[in-house]
């Protein structure tokens, strides 16, 4: 009876796995993969591995939601309104797949597999626990450090907003003494981090950005002393966390581009203050670090936008 269920689940898993590359809608593709994982988890439940099975459902449900969000974010034709066909070297990959299946299948069928089933009724979760805390403690801690490295890597690679300002603005660490010139190598003029076709380009010259420069300087000064103990300006009530936006859009008409920056002030001290480089559009964004005494500075936003 369980063999029949395992066969059904295996077929379901393989069918949904195949559907992943056949459907047009990316959301359906990632949730088809999740169904394939759920089939694997079902087989795990049947093979008396309850923890592994349910943990697979749990972990894969989360991952497939994140995968669906990222697929919709970065792929053309996200919802499959037009048929989706983004394949290359099609014949080669079909061959590779079939060869892999045939090879592994042959290996399975030809070799004599060991036959010592798990004793029914053993507390497998406790065994795993003792294993984690006993002989494999090193693996357990290494996995912890690896996950930490993953978190740091993910933040460094994908986050644009950093402590020292925007990642694609050639953000640079604060000066050695408060208010001093920023330390570290100054990226070359119009450096490689300019955007592709529509981006706001590298550094705008200091000319019309002076309002933001003096703000910037003041920020940096404030930032450096506030830097060593994390967020000095962080008010405990978890104030509004949205950062002051950095207006980089180039093709905005001048009439609209002068932005009432003052509404963006005091936006939650939780964010790192803007190390503002004035983009070529004469944007000026007065977003002083929003520590509790920021209210009195709201007025400064006005005097700067005479450009």
């Amino acid at each position: 009876m369980t063999d029949l269920a395992i066969i059904l689940l295996a077929l379901f898993g393989v069918w949904t796995g195949w559907r992943v590359f056949r459907v047009d809608s990316m959301v359906r593709a990632s949730f088809a993969l999740m169904l394939s994982f759920i089939a694997t988890a079902g087989i795990g439940l049947l093979l008396s591995a309850p923890y592994i099975g349910v943990a697979t459902v749990f972990m894969m449900a989360v991952e497939m939601l994140v995968m669906a969000i990222f697929m919709v974010m970065f792929m053309m034709n996200p919802a499959g309104l037009n048929p989706m066909s983004m394949v290359h070297q099609h014949r080669l990959s079909i061959g590779a797949g079939v060869v892999a299946f045939a090879g592994l299948g042959a290996a399975v069928l030809l070799s004599d597999l060991p036959d010592s089933p798990v004793a029914p009724g053993t507390d497998v979760v406790a065994q795993l626990g003792f294993e984690l805390l006993g002989p494999s403690m090193l693996i357990f801690e290494t996995a912890g450090v690896t996950l930490l490295a993953t978190m740091l890597g993910a933040v460094i690679l994908s986050s644009r907003q950093g402590r020292f300002g925007m990642a694609d603005h050639g953000s640079r660490p604060p000066g050695l003494e408060p208010g001093g010139a920023p330390a570290g190598r100054r990226p070359e003029k119009g450096g490689g981090h300019g955007h592709g076709h529509g981006g706001h380009g590298g550094h705008g010259d200091g000319g019309h950005g002076r309002a933001s420069d003096d703000h910037g300087g003041e920020h940096r000064g404030h930032m450096s002393d506030g830097d060593h103990e994390g967020h000095a300006g962080y008010s405990p009530d978890g104030a509004m966390g949205a950062p002051g936006p950095e207006h980089g859009a180039t093709h905005r008409t001048p009439a609209k581009s002068e932005h009432g920056g003052e509404h963006r002030t005091a936006h939650g001290p939780g964010h790192a203050p803007q190390d503002q480089k004035a983009a070529d559009a004469p944007q000026e964004d007065a977003a002083p670090n929003a520590d509790p005494h920021a209210h009195h500075r709201k007025g400064t936003g006005h005097d700067g936008d005479d450009t």
Partner: protein, 101 residues
């Protein structure tokens, strides 16, 4: 008999994952193929742990480590996709062929 069914299913999943990883142009679909291959590997581990290894705890630990590999591969993979898209709006493998030239 059960182990053979499970291992055949695992190799089928691995085959489909390999097909997907090789045939898809977009990074994200390519990672779907990798996840499917890891799914096949996970299924094989569960099968061996339950029928072949007599429930050795290391088997379950290996299954957890494979799930950790899936999580890490996905997190760093998407971080790279974000970094690349921010720099170059590239979302298909053809767009980053600069090393070839």
């Amino acid at each position: 008999m059960t182990l053979i069914i499970v291992l055949l299913a695992a190799s089928a999943l691995f085959g489909i994952g390999l097909y997907g990883a090789l045939s898809q142009q977009s990074f994200v679909m390519l990672m779907m193929g990798l996840e499917l291959m890891l799914n096949g590997a996970l299924l094989a581990i569960i099968g061996f742990w339950s029928r072949g290894l007599g429930g050795m705890p290391e088997g379950q630990l290996l299954a957890i480590i494979v799930m950790a590999v899936m999580a890490i591969e996905m997190a760093i993979g998407f971080a790279l996709v974000v970094a690349l898209y921010r720099k170059r709006q590239a979302d298909v493998t053809e767009a980053i062929g600069t090393l070839k030239r």
